[in-house]
C-alpha cells in the first residue's frame, strides 16, 4: 500500500477517455476508487489523459457516477453514510436491464472497481436465487449440454431441492 495523494487539499482533475472518444473530467479522489486508474495515477502521474480502450462512454459514465456518489458519501465519515450508500446502491441497480448490467459489470471488472463489481455480481446472483432450472437457463441464455438422462439423474439424486 502506498501513502500518496494526501499532499494537496485542492482537488485534482483527471481526464478519462472512453473507447468511443467520449471524455470525462473527474476528480482524482473519485476516479481512484477504481483500482486500475489508481494504479495508472501512481505509476505515471496524473497529468496525462488516461485512455480506456475497453470501455465505451455510456458505461464509463455510469461507473463514474457510482464512484462519485461513493466518494462524496465517504468524505464526511458518518455512521449514517453506510446506510445512505446502501440505499443509493439499491436504487442504482434496481432498474438495470440485463444487457446494461452485464456491460457495466465487465466495465467495473476491467477498471478493478471491486466494490462496484461486488454490488453488480450480487445483483446478478439475486436474479438466480429462487429460480427454477428452466428459468435460470432462459434468463441467462444458458444451453443445457447434458446428455439425455443426465439431468434427470441429478434431479432424482437431489429431489429434496427440486420441490
Amino acid at each position: 500500500m502506498s501513502s500518496s495523494s494526501t499532499t494537496t487539499t485542492t482537488t485534482r482533475l483527471l481526464m478519462l477517455k472512453a473507447s468511443d472518444g467520449v471524455t470525462f473530467e473527474v476528480e482524482e479522489a473519485v476516479a481512484t476508487k477504481l483500482g486500475a486508474i489508481n494504479n495508472m495515477v501512481e505509476e505515471e502521474g496524473s497529468e496525462d489523459l488516461i485512455c480506456l480502450p475497453n470501455v465505451n462512454g455510456k458505461f464509463l459514465g455510469m461507473v463514474l457516477e457510482w464512484c462519485k456518489k461513493h466518494a462524496n458519501n465517504n468524505t464526511n465519515s458518518d455512521k449514517g453514510n453506510d446506510e445512505v450508500n446502501k440505499w443509493w446502491d439499491k436504487e442504482f441497480v434496481m432498474d438495470l436491464d440485463q444487457n446494461t448490467l452485464y456491460h457495466l459489470l465487465m466495465a467495473a471488472d476491467y477498471l478493478s472497481g471491486t466494490e462496484l463489481v461486488d454490488l453488480l455480481t450480487e445483483k446478478v446472483a439475486s436474479m438466480i436465487r429462487g429460480k427454477k432450472v428452466e428459468e435460470i437457463r432462459e434468463t441467462f441464455k444458458i444451453k443445457s449440454d447434458f446428455l439425455p438422462g443426465q439431468e434427470e439423474e441429478i434431479r432424482k439424486k437431489n429431489s429434496w431441492a427440486f420441490e
Partner: protein, 381 residues
C-alpha cells in the same frame, strides 16, 4: 493454448468472463446448488471445485452447513444428511416446513464411532462394525463433493471415546482393556502416532474419559482427573480434578453460552457454561404438557443456532411389508427457549416426522439392544 476462442461449453454465464461468473455463482446459498448443478455441465463442475470454495470464502459467502448422522441398531449403515433450515411462509409455521435433508451416501455402520471436523472434511473414527467387533477404520467425508473416501486406519482396532482437533491434527482417546490410549492423526501426512497416556496402568474410571480442544490446548479428562496436553511438545500437565457432572453431561449442546442436555425421556436441562456452582435446571414446559410423544433415544442437536430434538420411532413391519422387518422413522422437534427473570423456559415450536430410514435388518432387534443415536456437526463451506 492453440485456439484463440474459448469453447462455448466452458462458459459459466455467457457472455461474462468465467471469473465474473464464478463471483456470481459463489454467492448462491448451498441449498440452491443442486438446482444450479442441473443447469449445465460447466456450472455443475465448478460447484465442487476448490476455486469455487476459495471464492466463497473470499467473498465472505461461506456457510456453516449442518451434518446430521444417524445410527441405529436396525441398520448396517450410518445415515448422513446435510440439513438446511429454510424459512417458509408464516402459514406453515406450526409445521416442519423448515428442514430439508440432503442425503449423503450411507456409511458401513460404526456404532459408537467418533467424529472430528478438519477443514471441509469430516473424519469418522473407529467404532463397532457389529455389536462385538471394534474397527480401526477411518472414513472421510469430503463435504464439498459429498463423497466418502477411506482415510488412514488407526494403529489398532479399538473403541474410541472421543476426539479433538488442534491445528489440523486429530487427537483420539479410547480404552483398550482397562487402559487408556491416545493417538494423533496428522491429516496432512495422513499418519497416526501414539501419544503417551497421562495415567499409567489400569485405572478404574478409565471408561469415563474424554478429550477436548480448549483454546489451542488439549484437555483430557479421565474419570475425575484432568490433564492438559501441550500439542507442540506433547507433554502433560495436571489440570486438577473435575466434577462428576462434567463427565455425565458430555453430549451437551451449546447455544449462546448455555449448555443444554436431554435425558432418555426427552427432558431438557440447562446450565450456564463456566458456572460450576450452578446445578443443572430443567427447562420447564418442555418437560410437561407439550413434550413430543413416543421418544426413543432422543438426541439434542443445534441447527443454525436453534435447539432441535431428534429421536427415532420404531415401526414394526406389517403384513404388507416384504420382510416383516422393522422400520425406523426419524422425528424432529424444534425447541424455542425463552429467558425470563434469569430462568429459561422452553416450548416446542413444531414436532414432526421428517425421515423414514430404509429397512435393513431385523436380527439385531432380538437381543433387545435398541439403539438410536444422532449427532450434528457443522462444516464451513
Amino acid at each position: 493454448m492453440s485456439t484463440t476462442t474459448e469453447p462455448p461449453s466452458e462458459v459459466l454465464i455467457p457472455p461474462l468472463p468465467n471469473d465474473i461468473g464464478l463471483n456470481i455463482l459463489a454467492r448462491i446459498p448451498r441449498h440452491r446448488h443442486p438446482i444450479l448443478s442441473a443447469v449445465s455441465k460447466p456450472v455443475r463442475s465448478i460447484l465442487s471445485s476448490p476455486e469455487f470454495f476459495a471464492a466463497r470464502s473470499l467473498l465472505n459467502c461461506s456457510q456453516n452447513i449442518a451434518y446430521l448422522s444417524i445410527v441405529s441398531s436396525f441398520h448396517y449403515h450410518g445415515y448422513w444428511f446435510e440439513v438446511y433450515r429454510i424459512p417458509r411462509p408464516i402459514a406453515h409455521a406450526d409445521r416442519n416446513s423448515l428442514l430439508r435433508f440432503a442425503r449423503v451416501s450411507p456409511l458401513p455402520v460404526f456404532l459408537y464411532s467418533v467424529t472430528a471436523v478438519v477443514g471441509h472434511k469430516i473424519y469418522v473414527l473407529g467404532g463397532f462394525t457389529d455389536l462385538s467387533r471394534t474397527s480401526s477404520a477411518v472414513w472421510v467425508l469430503d463435504c464439498r463433493s459429498r463423497t466418502w473416501e477411506r482415510g488412514p486406519s488407526m494403529r489398532a482396532p479399538r473403541s474410541v471415546s472421543s476426539a479433538a482437533v488442534v491445528g489440523g491434527e486429530i487427537y483420539a482417546i479410547g480404552v483398550h482393556g482397562d487402559e487408556l490410549w491416545i493417538e494423533v492423526l496428522d491429516t496432512v501426512t495422513e499418519r497416526w502416532e501414539a501419544v503417551t497416556s497421562p495415567v499409567e496402568g489400569k485405572y478404574a474410571l478409565v471408561k469415563m474419559s474424554r478429550i477436548d480442544e480448549m483454546g489451542g490446548r488439549i484437555r483430557v479428562r479421565v474419570g475425575l482427573k484432568a490433564f492438559w496436553l501441550d500439542p507442540t511438545n506433547r507433554t502433560w500437565e495436571v489440570a486438577g480434578d473435575v466434577d462428576m457432572l462434567d463427565l455425565c453431561y458430555s453430549g451437551q449442546c451449546v447455544v449462546d453460552g448455555t449448555s443444554f442436555w436431554c435425558d432418555h425421556v426427552g427432558r431438557i436441562s440447562y446450565a450456564e457454561i463456566g458456572n460450576r456452582n450452578e446445578s443443572r435446571r430443567l427447562l420447564e414446559s418442555v418437560t410437561e404438557g407439550n413434550k413430543p410423544k413416543d421418544l426413543y433415544w432422543p438426541s439434542l442437536v443445534v441447527l443454525e443456532g436453534r435447539l432441535v430434538m431428534v429421536w427415532g420411532q420404531r415401526i414394526d413391519g406389517s403384513a404388507s411389508s416384504t420382510a416383516g422387518g422393522v422400520k425406523m422413522r426419524v422425528w424432529c422437534a424444534e425447541v424455542e427457549v425463552v429467558s425470563k427473570n434469569g430462568e429459561l423456559s422452553g416450548g416446542v415450536l413444531w414436532s414432526e416426522k421428517v425421515l423414514l430410514l430404509p429397512e435393513e435388518m431385523e436380527e439385531m432387534s432380538h437381543n433387545n439392544k435398541f439403539f438410536f443415536h444422532c449427532a450434528c456437526l457443522s462444516v464451513s463451506l
